[in-house]
């Protein structure tokens, strides 16, 4: 322990003596998967704070009826930028950032298959994000109309046509996401190839950590569902600038086609975000329950199954369009089908915890909250899959509450768990458990005050995306409660940032394996050297480090 932390300190001291410009240069030109992974996650956290502030502004405006803090046009821009940023510039970079960092370490590889392509993917995504946010200051364009895009994150036609959104605001949305999408596709190709061709000795597909299986699933899914969004965005660009008629209803085009193309991407996208969250939970829960993951094969099969079903559920976002009974029934059924593999996973995690010797570290606390909240998100999802119920509540705050339960209660909670779990590996320093507990409890309280309550104004008929409401609808108390959860969440995020900064400055040295874990990334130093492993360990079970620590009782015969 002392020897290892000594090397970390030595490396840190050497780092500190170099001029900052040289250090910055190293980060800019790096093709190392660990540095790119860290840059992805940091990018995601920065955009998380930006999009969180946008959401907080909206909640301030909605806290009381008939407020006029934010004018309606600005409100439209806020929810568009909030949604777009959260999905494309928070969820995607953090998820693929962890994939970048962890996959080579977990499978015993020295880097991804194409390191330079990896750098390309990151920088293209970052500049896509900067292009999108440049619209705040540079979006006036030629017509002096509008700054940031205001068409909603799914940018329905015909609102996106030149006739309804003049100026360049919509083009910022279109081009920024097109560019960021190319970066994501490149990274998906990279991860897929790495997982399939660069596993270390003995690391068969059946021994890969669940997180790697999730990344394999979502990388494959990305290759199939992200190009259709790019195609639709190319069509939108052609419509807007070359006078094409794809989504131009006055020339025979179809606005519903955009919805099909968008949601064929948009729904599986949710699974691309949440499956790695499942991966985090599947790595963290066993370590803190001191038990082998319960039902590895069923868990992996359920993940791949979700990936496959995901491609056949998109039109449940379009029940109110009027697709007809046959299509409605088919898509309602396929949507309900997702609940089966997802339910299997819940039992996998519960079965792992059951009878375990549980250690409630901050990472484990976040995973426990995830279990409850994600179950709730799944149940409202099944409610919304029933087409007549959806007709009643589509585009209401009930839907908003549902998908925030999925993406915050499910994804963001597991991301926090993952950061508390792998931060020691990436930096060689422990995050403070005391601050972590404050972070957890404030966030879990704030999140539930906001989003559990938000279901109710939805059920009472409050539509999403309205910038204010009259005081006689019976929504005002609920909206105030929803908004009161926000300060708790802001405080939690502040504590989280403080925790990271303090840990970087003077955190406890972590050592190689602070959690007594079992996957390969804990077999190397913290932070790992650029080449990852001096000698790539030979793997003979799903818990290679258990085998190393207990040569008398290896896992292999039990699998």
């Amino acid at each position: 322990m002392s020897v290892l932390s000594g090397t970390v300190d030595a490396r840190r001291r050497a780092e500190a003596h170099r001029p900052w410009l040289a250090v910055l240069h190293d980060w800019v030109v790096t093709v190392d998967h660990k540095r790119l992974g860290i840059m992805y996650v940091v990018t995601g956290i920065v955009f998380l704070i930006v999009a969180g502030l946008e959401a907080s502004t909206m909640r301030l405006q909605l806290a009381f009826p008939a407020l006029n803090l934010v004018p309606p046009e600005t409100f439209n821009r806020l929810f568009t930028m909030h949604g777009t940023t959260m999905v494309f510039l928070v969820g995607i970079p953090i998820v693929f950032g962890f994939g970048n960092y962890l996959v080579p370490l977990m499978i015993g590889a020295r880097d991804l298959a194409f390191p330079r392509l990896n750098a390309f993917g990151f920088w293209v995504l970052l500049f896509g994000g900067l292009l999108l946010h440049f619209s705040f200051i540079g979006g006036d364009g030629l017509y002096g109309a509008g700054s940031a895009p205001a068409v909603g994150w799914f940018a329905y036609a015909p609102l996106t046509s030149q006739a309804f959104t003049r100026g360049n605001a919509t083009d910022y949305w279109n081009l920024a996401l097109l560019v960021a999408g190319f970066g994501t596709i490149a990274t998906a190709i990279n991860l897929l190839t790495t997982i399939l061709t660069m596993r270390g000795p003995g690391m068969t597909l059946g021994r890969m950590p669940v997180f790697v299986w999730e990344m394999l699933t979502i990388s494959s899914l990305t290759l199939i569902i992200l190009p259709p969004l790019s195609a639709a965005q190319i069509m939108l660009g052609l419509d807007r600038y070359l006078g094409a008629h794809f989504f131009d209803t006055q020339a025979g085009g179809s606005a519903v086609m955009w919805q099909h193309f968008f949601w064929f991407f948009g729904h599986p996208e949710v699974y691309i975000l949440i499956l790695p969250g499942f991966g985090f939970a599947s790595e963290i829960i066993p370590v803190f329950s001191r038990k082998v993951l319960f039902g590895y094969v069923t868990l992996v099969a359920a993940s791949v199954g979700i990936g496959l079903i995901a491609m056949g559920t998109w039109a449940h976002h379009m029940f109110v369009v009027g697709l007809g009974s046959a299509l409605n029934t088919a898509f309602a059924a396929s949507t309900m089908l997702v609940a089966v593999p997802t339910g299997i996973k819940i039992f996998n995690w519960l079965g792992t915890i059951y009878g375990g010797k549980i250690r409630f570290s901050t990472a484990m606390l976040f995973c426990c909250a995830f279990l409850f909240q994600f179950l709730c998100a799944g149940l409202t999802g099944i409610m919304l899959s029933v087409a007549p119920f959806d007709w009643q509540l589509s585009d209401s705050y009930f839907v908003v509450a549902h998908f925030h339960f999925v993406l915050i209660g499910g994804l963001i909670f597991t991301i926090f768990a993952a950061i508390y779990y792998w931060f020691p590996k990436a930096t060689g320093r422990m995050l403070s458990e005391r601050l972590g507990r404050w972070h957890f409890w404030l966030f879990v309280i704030g999140f539930n005050v906001t989003f559990l309550t938000m279901h109710i104004p939805g059920l009472l008929g409050m539509p999403r995306r309205i910038y204010t409401y009259a005081g006689d609808r019976g929504w005002e108390t609920w909206n105030l409660i929803v908004s009161l959860g926000v300060p708790f969440q802001i405080a939690a995020i502040l504590i989280f940032v403080v925790n990271i900064v303090m840990a970087l400055r003077r955190g406890q040295p972590a050592g190689d394996d602070p959690w007594d874990a079992w996957t390969l990334e804990w077999a190397t130093a913290s932070p790992p050297p650029p080449y990852n492993f001096e000698v790539v360990p030979v793997v003979s079970s799903r818990r290679p480090l258990w085998d190393l620590k207990h040569p008398d009782d290896p896992d292999g015969p039990h699998e």
Binding site: A188, I189, G200, A231, S254
Partner: protein
């Protein structure tokens, strides 16, 4: 998981790294083209004004034959490369490039006639929008393929192409086969079903 599958060594030969990458790229490209094909099929007969496909489109038989046979010649070029016959390989690459260029020239001629003869542009009607975007997307892929083939051809004749590059040359040929396969779909959709 059977114990047999678990015991087999996981190491995969390094040449599959490049192949995995190109297969991933081609899957993504397939998905991209699929959306333009779906759009084309969906918008058949939905144009409110002319010109309509049956009035202005002629079957591009000759250029199609050229493009499809270029798949054979590029395969022969890779075969020659494997046998160490650099000049023969370069010659087959040259034939491939000429065939691809003939195809592109055919597309250019067709577009020239459509734009200036029939007044069909991407903004004229839905047929124009879907036709130029789908055929144009394919033509841009042919162009990218021609650039890569030209580089290979130059390398082959200058002696820069060596045995260790065979794997990469093969990947270019895979891309070229993909471009040909897409044309079979585009031809069927645009010139057979859509007419």
């Amino acid at each position: 998981m059977t114990s047999m599958a678990l015991r087999e060594a996981a190491a995969v030969s390094p040449e599959w790294r490049g192949r995995g990458g190109i297969i991933g790229l081609l899957v993504a490209e397939t998905s991209l083209f699929a959306v333009f094909v779906v759009a084309y099929l969906f918008y058949i007969g939905k144009s409110l004004t002319g010109p309509y496909p049956k009035d202005v489109l002629a079957l591009p038989i000759f250029t199609t034959v050229c493009l499809l046979s270029s798949s054979v010649t590029v395969a022969l070029a890779v075969q020659a490369l494997r046998n160490g016959a650099w000049r023969r390989s370069g010659a087959w690459l040259l034939v491939t490039i000429v065939l691809g260029a003939i195809f592109l020239a055919g597309t250019a001629r067709e577009w020239f006639g459509l734009i200036f003869g029939h007044g069909l542009t991407i903004g004229t009607n839905l047929f124009g929008s879907t036709f130029y975007s789908l055929v144009g997307l394919h033509a841009s892929h042919v162009t990218i393929g021609l650039v890569m083939l030209t580089l290979l051809c130059v390398f082959a004749f200058t002696g820069a192409l060596r045995r260790e590059h065979i794997g990469r040359a093969e990947l270019v040929s895979w891309y070229w086969h993909f471009v040909d396969a897409v044309w079979v779909v585009v031809f069927t959709v645009v010139y057979v079903i859509g007419r």
